[in-house]
């Protein structure tokens, strides 16, 4: 491991001040990405500023909507007594992240700030239209998750900002949610993943929010598919059209985990299966 100093500030203001003072300093939350990047010499920080000891930053509050502290671990989210009931999609994505050991330390804020195209927690947050709260020593702003990601490893987070919370509005009661992820093995990073949130009235799709991961530089909404579906009756034909649009609207790459073609195929299939499942549920 390269050498760095390690700091454990107790307040957000102290963390921001340290970051400002120490050239080459990097924040660390759960460390499941940062430590690996340091080991692989992709990151050579002069200092790590830990956000793990700031009281309140891991707090989860459910009150119709929800406020999830950026430092809440994936296990905190899974084990929360009421969060799953309000946002089952969050739970499904959380359960598919890594292993127990990873989920016990990895944080939701870290998953977002790492800005991987395959960030698992991003998909439910995208379709739920969540916002992230970003704080400097003087200002606070709220940014839709959709606008947070700028590219692989890049976000709109400024160097003097810390993500403090993830904010969710109260969910619509009649929505149907599906999350699908394909990894090489279960605990793997996604080859491709899809989250779907539909407002259905019988077979009529009133509103569709669909997001996909690992098939573009950032996790993103599939707007073309949504537009095709909204206001239409879900049928074999519309579902198959949605599948085609999904396949052609994504821009995956070939890398160590999969190929461009396969990812395209999988996203199409996931959109199709999610819609079929939603249709099945709406009949119940």
């Amino acid at each position: 491991m390269s050498r760095f100093s390690y700091h454990k500030p107790k307040t957000i203001d102290d963390a921001l001040q340290l970051k400002n003072e120490k050239r080459g300093a990097v924040y660390i939350a759960g460390g499941t990405d940062v430590i690996v990047q340091i080991k692989n010499q992709e990151l050579r920080p002069s200092a790590l500023i830990s956000l793990r000891n700031i009281p309140g930053l891991a707090h989860i509050e459910v009150n119709g909507g929800a406020r999830i502290g950026a430092l809440a671990t994936i296990s905190d989210i899974i084990q929360h007594p009421t969060l799953a009931q309000a946002f089952p999609l969050l739970m499904e994505a959380a359960r598919r992240i890594g292993s127990v050991q990873i989920r016990n330390v990895a944080t939701i804020g870290g998953n977002l700030c790492n800005c991987s195209p395959c960030a698992d927690m991003a998909l439910p947050l995208l379709v739920l239209e969540a916002k992230v709260r970003l704080r400097t020593s003087e200002t606070t702003r709220e940014v839709p998750v959709e606008d947070f990601f700028k590219g692989p490893g890049e976000s709109c987070l400024l160097s003097d900002e810390i993500m403090t919370d993830i904010l969710l509005d109260a969910p619509d009661v009649n929505t149907i949610a599906v999350f699908m992820k394909k990894g090489r093995v279960k605990m793997d990073l996604a080859v491709a993943s899809v989250a779907v949130l539909l407002d259905m009235e019988g077979d009529l799709c009133r509103k569709a929010h669909i997001a996909a991961g690992s098939v573009a530089p950032v996790p993103r909404r599939l707007r073309e598919v949504e537009e095709k579906l909204e206001g239409t009756i879900l049928s074999e034909q519309t579902i198959s059209e949605a599948q085609k649009i999904a396949k052609s609207s994504v821009v995956p790459i070939t890398d160590i985990r999969s190929t461009e073609d396969y990812r395209r195929e999988i996203v199409g299939v996931f959109v199709k299966r999610s819609l079929e499942r939603a249709l099945e549920w709406s009949h119940k």
């Binding site: 491991m1 050498r3 390690y6 454990k8 460390g31 690996v36 692989n40 127990v100």
Partner: protein, 159 residues
């Protein structure tokens, strides 16, 4: 930078002076000479380095040592039964042939402990989910799952 931290290791308080950039596994193996915890991949994939921190399974290769301050850390060395005998989990692993080369075993056993502490009667699926982050390249997992079931039975005692 160096710092001295104190934490509870296998039930007793320890004071350790360590370098800021050390990981918990470095502190355990190199500073404290507890070499029961193994390093496999060093990036959180294989689980050989699993220890419990405040009762939760974590990869000690991804855990910054300075974060252990004030925490309760349990390693394989701390998992003894009475009179220095094997614990019921270790016994089950030995009896059911869930060990071949043994490199993954300390991690497997601590992940099992974390599981059984929260779920004393796990299904096969629960066991496989709890051990998803622990790779074994010898046994093929069948014996391991059986050993965990046996350990759960041992723990619950005669019915």
């Amino acid at each position: 930078m160096r710092r001295t931290i104190s934490f509870f290791l296998n039930g007793s308080e320890v004071n350790v002076t360590l370098k800021d950039h050390m990981r918990l596994i470095d502190c355990l193996r190199e500073t404290l000479n507890l070499t029961g915890t193994k390093e496999g991949c060093g990036e959180g994939e294989c689980g050989a380095c699993t220890v419990l921190v405040d009762g939760q399974a974590v990869n000690s290769c991804l855990y910054p040592a300075p974060e252990a301050e004030g925490k309760n850390v349990l390693t394989i060395e701390g998992l003894q039964g009475s009179e220095n005998r094997l614990s019921f989990i270790q016994k089950a692993f030995v009896e059911l042939g869930a060990i071949q080369c043994g490199f993954c075993t300390p991690g497997m056993i601590l992940a099992t402990k974390a599981l059984l502490d929260s779920n004393p009667d796990p299904s096969d699926q629960d066991i496989r989910a709890a051990l998803q982050g622990n790779l074994c390249r010898c046994t093929g997992y069948v014996q391991i799952v059986e050993a965990v079931k046996q350990a759960a039975e041992n723990m619950r005692g005669p019915e």
